[in-house]
């Protein structure tokens, strides 16, 4: 994993684990790497990893059982709402970017359709 310079590392780790959960790399209830493993693997201060895990526990994204490691939540509704949120975020971001270019909604829709069709025929 490559980190960008601007954001704190712990928020980037949370975003990465969220993404892996949303796209199915990590399944509901699956065990994720321990803090130690991740610190070693990423070469990141273990207290920074701890901060990411603590925050994910507070969000109920992960559950840590004492002495048994950390697991993704088994809450289906939480997964669905995360997917929803991620989709909304990505769509609104691209549409707002296109609007800032001065494109009308009709033009944006046409451009998106064209892109999708080209993707389908590929």
């Amino acid at each position: 994993m490559e980190f960008n310079q601007k954001e704190p590392i712990y928020t980037q780790i949370i975003a990465d684990i969220k993404l892996k959960f949303i796209n199915g790399t990590y399944k509901l209830g699956q065990e994720i790497p321990s803090r130690r493993e991740l610190a070693k693997q990423l070469g990141v201060n273990p207290n920074t990893i701890q901060r990411a895990y603590r925050e994910m526990e507070e969000m109920r994204l992960i559950v840590t059982a004492r002495g048994q490691g950390s697991f993704m939540t088994s809450d289906v509704e939480l997964l669905e709402s995360l997917r929803e949120e991620a989709l909304h975020h990505a769509v609104s971001q691209s549409i707002e970017t296109l609007r800032s270019f001065g494109k009308s909604d009709r033009e944006i829709l046409a451009a998106m359709k064209k892109y999708l069709e080209r993707g389908a025929s590929r």
Binding site: F3, Q5, K6, E7, P8, I9, Y10, T11, R36, A39, K40, L42, G43, V44, N45, P46, N47, T48, R51
Partner: protein, 233 residues
């Protein structure tokens, strides 16, 4: 805990440390960051008991730097400090005789990890190899405090990653307190809990790296640049 209170040091008319006060909590990795001549090496040497302050006080777990604190503290100097005829095995034997906390198994592990050879002659070793040797000598001791002066200077990114990895692995095992002096903040950022930013012997900034970045929404380098320009106004 390392506590520095109003530390001051002059070299001739040059101020190296200008009334510096801070403390380093146990079990943290702290970056001592600043340009060349900011006072980083002077600070580390004073902590290691290798030079005396003009004024002020340093304590390590409540004691001033002396023989007994030296035993719990491992120092990696910026400059090479060995005889030209020495082989790595000579230095390792020397360290073993000098420090009761020398851990032969760890030294063997690091030799292996860094692909170093016992009979290699230090004088002709490359910069990257010398950096690895110096780190091996420090990490092979079970010291509670590690003071590393520019452990990444002049080495390639590959060796850099190996060295960072070795430091992290050791920290996970022993939870020492580690101070890393560097002028290249991006090289150590991911390893740090805290940063101490020095300029002209003064402390310009101290804080938790992740908290600073979260509060400012900027890279650490940008934050340091701002603090630096503000101080120069």
């Amino acid at each position: 805990m390392i506590k520095v209170e109003q530390a001051a040091k002059m070299f001739g008319s040059k101020i190296a440390l200008d009334d510096l006060s801070f403390s380093v909590e146990a079990g943290q990795i702290v970056g001592l960051v600043g340009a060349n001549g900011a006072g980083k090496s002077t600070m580390l040497k004073a902590m290691a008991g290798l030079l005396h302050l003009d004024r002020g006080k340093i304590t390590i777990d409540g004691k001033s730097p002396c023989r007994s604190t030296r035993e719990r503290l491992a120092f990696l100097p910026d400059l090479d400090a060995w005889y030209p005829w020495m082989k790595l095995s000579d230095i390792m034997r020397y360290m073993q005789d000098l420090y009761p906390d020398w851990d032969g198994n760890k030294a063997d592990h690091l030799l292996d990890y860094f692909h170093l050879k016992r009979d290699s002659l230090i004088k002709v070793a490359s910069k990257g190899t010398r950096a690895k040797i110096k780190l091996l000598l420090v990490l092979s001791r079970q010291a509670k405090y590690l003071l590393l002066d520019e452990p990444f200077s002049g080495i390639d990114p590959f060796a850099r990653e190996q060295i960072a990895h070795a430091i992290m692995e050791d920290f996970l095992e022993e939870e020492q307190t580690i101070l890393i002096a560097t002028h290249e903040v991006s090289e150590v950022e991911a390893l740090l809990d805290e940063i101490l930013f020095l300029d002209d012997g003064k402390l310009l900034l101290k804080g938790n790296v992740e908290t600073l970045k979260l509060a400012e929404s900027k890279s650490l380098l940008e934050i340091l640049k701002e603090v630096y320009h503000h101080a120069r106004l």
